[in-house]
């Protein structure tokens, strides 16, 4: 077997059964790897209506065929399950664990059942065992990894684990590896916690074989060369590298900066968190994921002040979550909050927006000091830091917030529900009024509010000529236009899916730019690595297949057209300030754009559900039959 290892590790925690299953050629050819194969395995095993915390809910970890090879950024993995927050739980993660899993000889792990008491899985090549995790339960997501290395006596062990948030079934708890890498959104960590699974430790010594070494090496190294320019801007040598350095002002200028719970898209205090100061005074070095030429992640320490001694890594989402969204202007508080969320093990995007939700409710007098336990004004860093722990440990008001914004709104009542900003149950993290294509992409994302399923970068970055070439209309380059956006969203959807299936980084994919890796490059890399012929068309069809399976998965859970819209605020509350002051989305135009999106996908325009014809065309007879049988149309 080349590129893939050819093995799935299957674990039943209820009875301790562990076995290896072969990865079928059908899965390889049809779904490639990572998110693609995860999702198909989940679909086949999952009985619709099963609760996310039911032991029968499968929890999948998936690496990809290019992981651990010379393919630049081949190091990621996906965690996939039925989400306790939304519907489809799926999240991608970087770092070094994905590679270690391949080295141990596995492409995927599928976990079902629930252990009687806390355990962790220890995988050492062919030796797999369940070990007692009683001494690890309660430890934070970083310390757990350190303790496991010490206990097992190998500094090269890579571990994924949950923190207290996952243990306490916080609905947006994440799965963590390294000092800050996470499978962040949709609460996969809570599912892991519900199974009493504290961690999966891996150490592998087996290699990955390459079918056509010379051709593969040539393709991989040429790809690495093309990344050089991007590296200069985004990577270690850049004065303001990483997403924090690059995105803060770009997002603010586009009015995409989450501000006071999306009441605005432009944060007037953005200078307070200027990345230049961060890189000069806090950042000590830049780190990389496996095989990645860019190395975009800043490792930092706080050397002075009340949070002196704090250390970790950080990127843009945490700045928006704990800075602009709750309107916190003290950078030390923001960095401290990011690290604390990483230790506690919950998604910064959901957590930060949720705290902002509470702050808006407080602003509007819907909740008071009595509900929270202390005042909760915009910009109160201490209050926010208190809430982080309260959420993770489900204490007091934290127990309400730990349910996620949608459920919290219902629990609080008193009109709180009118201010809930979620899409398919997942907290909205970016305001969308001035980026129409992005709004469509976020709202139609199969896993809920998300920019990583589809992010219409061309509407902000492209020239009208290029936009016309790519999407058939010059207006596709205008962020406020509704024309040419649906084809764009689909283009980004397929390429983001392919990045998740190959398990290489989206920043080096057409999700951002087609110059580094794209379907032609991926096809060359995968063909030469695996010895199996893949064309760009094969890969794009596989991506379409994966998205259709995801779409049917959520349809079976009751998701329909009404769930493909951004919250009401996006249509009704004009931006109060900034370069797009007064901007709102137009509901009628959005409706038409959504119709176009469904038609291009060959999905039913009224329900958003894939047609049986489309499913059969993609070779998904079993999925079509399932839909028919359940009479979901």
């Amino acid at each position: 077997m080349y590129a893939w290892t050819g093995k799935i590790l299957w674990v039943d925690l209820s009875n301790g059964q562990i076995r290896q299953e072969p990865l079928t050629a059908a899965l390889q050819r049809g779904f490639i790897g990572g998110r693609g194969i995860n999702v198909k395995l989940l679909f086949d095993a999952f009985e619709p209506g099963t609760d996310a915390f039911d032991p029968a809910n499968p929890l999948l970890f998936g690496s990809g065929p290019l992981v651990g090879t010379l393919a630049p950024s081949g190091g990621r993995f996906n965690v996939t399950t039925r989400s306790p927050l939304g519907y489809l739980g799926d999240s991608s993660c970087g770092g070094h664990w994905g590679r270690e899993l391949k080295m141990a000889g596995y492409d995927h792990i599928m976990i079902v059942g629930k252990a009687e008491k806390p355990i962790y899985l220890w995988i050492q090549d062919d030796q797999v065992e369940l070990r007692d995790a009683g001494h690890l339960w309660g430890r934070d997501a970083w310390t757990t990894q350190v303790l496991i290395r010490e206990e097992l006596g190998d500094e090269d062990i890579q571990t994924v684990c949950i923190g207290p948030a996952g243990e306490n079934l916080v609905r947006f708890a994440n799965v963590r590896t390294g000092i800050k890498r996470s499978a962040g959104r949709t609460g996969t960590g809570a599912v892991m916690g519900s199974k009493n699974l504290k961690a999966i430790a891996v150490r592998g010594t087996q290699g990955i074989r390459i079918a056509q070494p010379e051709k593969f090496m040539k393709a991989a190294l040429e790809t690495a060369e093309r990344i050089e320019g991007f590296k200069q801007v985004f990577g270690a040598v850049a004065p303001q590298g990483g997403t924090y350095g690059q995105l803060l002002f770009r997002h603010n200028d586009a009015s995409m900066m989450a501000t006071r719970h999306q009441q605005s898209g432009y944060w007037e205090a953005a200078d307070a968190l200027d990345a230049k100061v961060f890189h000069e005074k806090y950042r000590k070095r830049m780190t990389a994921c496996s095989s990645c030429p860019v190395g975009c992640t800043p490792y930092f320490t706080i050397d002075e002040g009340p949070y002196k001694g704090t250390y970790g890594e950080i990127e843009y989402e945490a700045i928006a979550s704990f800075g602009s969204s709750p309107d916190i202007r003290d950078r030390d508080v923001v960095y401290k909050a990011a690290v604390r969320a990483d230790e506690l093990g919950f998604d910064c995007d959901s957590g930060g927006r949720l705290i902002s939700f509470a702050m808006e409710l407080y602003q509007r007098g819907i909740i008071s000091e009595e509900d929270v336990g202390f005042p909760l004004h915009w910009g109160d860093g201490e209050a926010m830091l208190k809430l982080l722990d309260m959420i993770a440990y489900r204490q007091g008001f934290g127990d309400v917030l730990a349910e996620g914004e949608l459920r919290a709104g219902k629990i609080i009542g008193r009109g709180a529900e009118d201010y809930v900003l979620t899409m398919k149950g997942v907290e909205q993290h970016e305001p969308l009024r001035s980026v129409v294509g992005h709004a469509l992409g976020q709202s139609t994302s199969t896993r809920g509010a998300d920019h990583l399923r589809s992010s219409h970068h061309a509407e902000r970055d492209s020239s009208p000529e290029d936009a016309e070439k790519m999407f058939g209309s010059k207006k596709a380059a205008d962020p406020l236009a509704y024309e040419g956006k649906a084809p764009g969203v689909i283009y980004y959807e397929y390429n983001a899916a392919l990045a998740d299936m190959m398990e290489t980084c989206k920043f080096l994919s057409p999700w951002l730019s087609p110059h580094f890796m794209n379907p032609e490059v991926w096809a060359e890399l995968l063909t030469t690595a695996s010895g199996i012929e893949f064309s760009a068309e094969d890969l794009l069809e596989a991506a379409e297949r994966v998205i259709n399976v995801e779409r049917v998965f959520i349809a079976r859970e009751g998701v329909g057209r009404e769930d493909d819209y951004p919250p009401r605020r996006e249509f009704e509350d004009p931006y109060p300030s900034g370069p797009f002051k007064g901007q709102v989305l137009d509901r009628a135009k959005y409706d038409q754009m959504l119709d176009e999106y469904y038609r291009l996908h060959s999905w039913d325009v009224e329900t958003g559900i894939p047609t049986l014809e489309k499913l059969r065309e993609l070779g998904l007879e079993d999925v079509a039959a399932d839909l028919e049988r359940r009479k979901i149309q």
Binding site: L70, H96, D156, G207, I210, A288, G295
Partner: protein, 164 residues
């Protein structure tokens, strides 16, 4: 003498590409366990590449009971004569730097051979964290750099125009 040096350990981001390319180039597989160079990870945040010093009085060669390790004049690397090697593994604990390993499957050591004179890890390190040093290397450059302030002072007082 020739060896691979770390230019600045701060530049290494821990991407481990050097490990993948070394094992790939020498053994046709992507396997850090078969790489001569290792990006040693000390989490959180520290990664330092480490690879054979190519000692001219190599302790590994001294420890070898059958003289299978020898210093090669052409490449200036310490090489393994695989036909002579008996796979006893005595070379491994002999290295004070921990830079020689036994192959996981075959009874020979894995150690850096400088790729015959064109080290791949140096060529493909994305961060410039490695250099191929074929002499006293940067010692002479560092010497000049260190002397610059003194030279400038002399030049000012003596009215000399420095051309460097």
């Amino acid at each position: 003498m020739s060896r691979i040096r770390v230019t600045d350990a701060n530049l290494c981001g821990g991407c481990d590409y050097c490990e993948v390319i070394c094992s790939f180039y020498h053994h046709g597989v992507c396997n850090p366990e078969k790489s001569a160079i290792r990006a040693v990870r000390m989490e959180p945040g520290i990664d330092i590449p480490s690879v054979c010093h190519q000692c001219q009085k190599a302790p590994c060669a001294e420890a070898c009971p059958v003289q299978a390790l020898y210093w090669d004049e052409r490449t200036e690397a310490v090489l393994v004569d695989e036909k002579t090697c008996i796979g006893c593994g005595e070379c491994v604990p002999a290295c004070p730097f921990g830079e020689i390993f036994m192959h996981p499957e075959v009874a020979v050591p894995i150690k850096c051979d400088l790729c015959g004179g064109d080290p791949k890890c140096v060529k493909y390190c994305f961060k410039g964290a490695l250099e191929f040093d074929t002499g006293n290397g940067s010692a002479k450059e560092r010497q000049r750099e260190y002397l610059k302030p003194t030279a400038e002072k002399i030049a000012r007082t003596a009215g000399i125009q420095i051309m460097y």
